[in-house]
């Protein structure tokens, strides 16, 4: 589902965020991406989302070769990917419901269909009773779960998460990770960047380890 072939990313400021990274994440697989901060985890995820362009190498997501996509194709690529951010990126000027339904509005779902899907997504993350609230009124764990609901509401084939447990205590962290496992079980390909090594090790999934931009361990 996600394939990197000799991908490098060099920034003009003069440092290499990624050096010759190659790996394949199969459809339905769940993997953790780990390494110290600055090792290139975020850059790797940004390349998948086409928030950045690689300096060398090829990336394929699904059956789309990213180097072939034009600027106008990027939104359609992003619709096939769900993303969860460390700082959850919620909009505080609207309700939880409206936050989660944003991807559906963008894809053009009818309001009835969208409402059904939003409730299903909120149900999955256990926040169905919070739909009318402003996300500001929620705890950080709940905010993160709203972010996850938004990422999966349009049933993307790929789910990316950048430090989804960054601000959470261990118990909440594990809860969040279990959620990702659930989505993986129904066939979503999941790639989670995290430096919470103890938690990741306990979950026994594939681990891609980055160090100074190089992939030093896979397995």
């Amino acid at each position: 589902m996600i394939q990197f072939e000799h991908v490098s990313k060099h920034y003009d400021e003069g440092y290499d965020a990624l050096k010759d990274v190659s790996f394949t994440l199969n459809t339905g697989e769940l993997a953790f991406l780990t390494g110290h901060s600055g090792a290139g985890k975020s850059t790797l995820l940004k390349l998948v989302m086409l928030m950045e362009q690689p300096t060398a190498g090829h990336i394929q997501v699904g059956d789309q070769l990213l180097s072939h996509l034009t600027r106008n194709d990027i939104p359609y690529l992003r619709r096939s990917i769900g993303v969860v951010f460390q700082n959850h990126q919620l909009l505080f000027d609207r309700s939880v419901f409206d936050n989660v339904s944003l991807p559906l509005q963008i894809c053009g779902y009818s309001p009835v269909d969208a409402a059904r899907r939003v409730r299903a997504a909120l149900d999955k993350v256990g926040l169905l009773n919070r739909e009318k609230m402003n996300p500001r009124a929620l705890s950080s764990g709940e905010q993160q779960r709203v972010g996850i609901a938004r990422a999966i509401v349009h049933k993307p084939k790929v789910l990316l998460a950048d430090e989804p447990t960054g601000n959470l205590d261990p118990e909440l962290s594990e809860e969040i990770m279990r959620l990702f496992e659930q989505f993986n079980r129904v066939g979503t390909t999941v790639l989670i960047a995290s430096h919470d090594l103890s938690l990741i090790r306990s979950m026994r999934h594939r681990m891609l380890t980055l160090k100074s931009g190089r992939l030093i361990a896979d397995g």
Binding site: L65, H68, N72, P75, L77, R79, C107, S110, K157
Partner: protein
């Protein structure tokens, strides 16, 4: 607006340089079918239009301030244009009374002069003629000038016979040509068009028109800038929303749409306010203008913006709103990318 939309897109398959020959472009994982698409597109437009208006009305003070600036900028040229068109209507009435005076050769006998004046009646560019014979002219001159004694002392009547013409054409250029043609006739000593002051007025009106036009363009530019700047600030304040929308797959057109609608609403609200101001101003002028016209026994009636003027005002303003928003969006939306 956005030609490439979701499920409709059919893109040629390109060979991938890496081993996957089936690599495709565009997005196929899209759950909205073709029929649902135009429907959802329309729905999105009406929703975005409504919510843009609701946002404007949700911040009434800021909106009223902006709309007031737009209204003033639109009222000025709108009002001046109607002033000009009223003045033009008025002078057109005057031009209708333009006369051409033909001073005939004094050598012409009374019968010849009379025959000549009658022959003029056959021409189809002349509505009416008034023939004043030499003796008739003499009588009138004596009566009105007070030089009767002097004239009596003269053995010969020095006055020429005069034919006053009422031309059918009211066009200044046509009248000029007609005058030249009549002047060339052998019976005519001199043809005089009493038009010079009207021509001057016309020239002044032309200058005024150009001035109002320049002012209109400048104020139109101001409208453009005001709306552009307002939209720019709006974009800044909604930066998070834009970034997140782009991250979850919003197209440029989708992101642009609310701002374009905001611009159009501003244009429309500005134009409506300007329209009301101009109409109220004319209503206030109507009674004194009518009194003035009565004093001059004129049938002149003030006309406000009228249907065409109102349409032009609304259309121009909405267009300016849209263009202002578009330029702001073009300049600033590309800068806002998820990082």
């Amino acid at each position: 607006m956005d030609k490439k939309r979701g499920a409709e897109r059919v893109q040629p398959t390109r060979e991938a340089p890496v081993a996957q020959p089936s690599a495709k472009r565009g997005a196929e994982h899209h759950k909205v079918d073709l029929k649902g698409h135009s429907e959802s597109w329309l729905r999105n437009h009406s929703e975005v239009g409504k919510s843009a208006l609701a946002k404007l009305l949700g911040t009434p003070v800021a909106t009223v301030m902006t709309v007031a600036v737009l209204a003033i900028a639109l009222t000025l040229p709108g009002f001046l244009f109607t002033v000009l068109s009223n003045v033009q209507n008025l002078t057109q009435g005057w031009e209708g009374e333009t006369r051409l005076s033909l001073y005939l050769e004094t050598s012409l006998s009374d019968e010849d002069a009379d025959r000549f004046s009658r022959s003029l009646l056959m021409r189809d560019d002349i509505a009416a003629i008034d023939y004043i014979s030499r003796s008739q002219g003499m009588l009138e001159f004596k009566k009105y000038s007070g030089f009767g004694d002097v004239l009596d002392a003269m053995s010969d009547n020095p006055l020429p016979a005069v034919v006053m013409l009422l031309p059918k054409s009211k066009n200044v250029a046509d009248l000029g040509l007609m005058r030249a043609g009549l002047q060339a006739l052998p019976e005519v000593n001199e043809a005089v068009l009493d038009l010079e002051w009207l021509q001057r007025l016309d020239a002044m009106l032309a200058v005024a028109k150009r001035a109002v036009f320049v002012l209109g363009v400048l104020l139109g530019l101001a409208v453009l800038l005001v709306i552009g700047n307002t939209i720019k600030m709006e974009i800044e304040s909604r930066r998070d929303e834009i970034v997140i929308s782009k991250l979850v797959g919003a197209t440029d057109a989708w992101v642009r749409r609310p701002f374009l609608y905001t611009g159009v609403w501003y244009g429309l609200l500005g134009a409506l306010s300007a329209w009301v101001i101009v109409q109220v101003a004319w209503l206030m002028l109507e009674t004194p203008a009518q009194e003035l016209a009565q004093l001059y026994r004129s049938q002149f009636q003030l006309s406000g913006l009228g249907f065409f003027g109102s349409f032009l005002l609304l259309f121009t303003s909405v267009l300016l709103g849209w263009i202002g928003a578009w330029t702001a969006v073009r300049r600033h939306l590309r800068e806002i990318e998820p990082r």
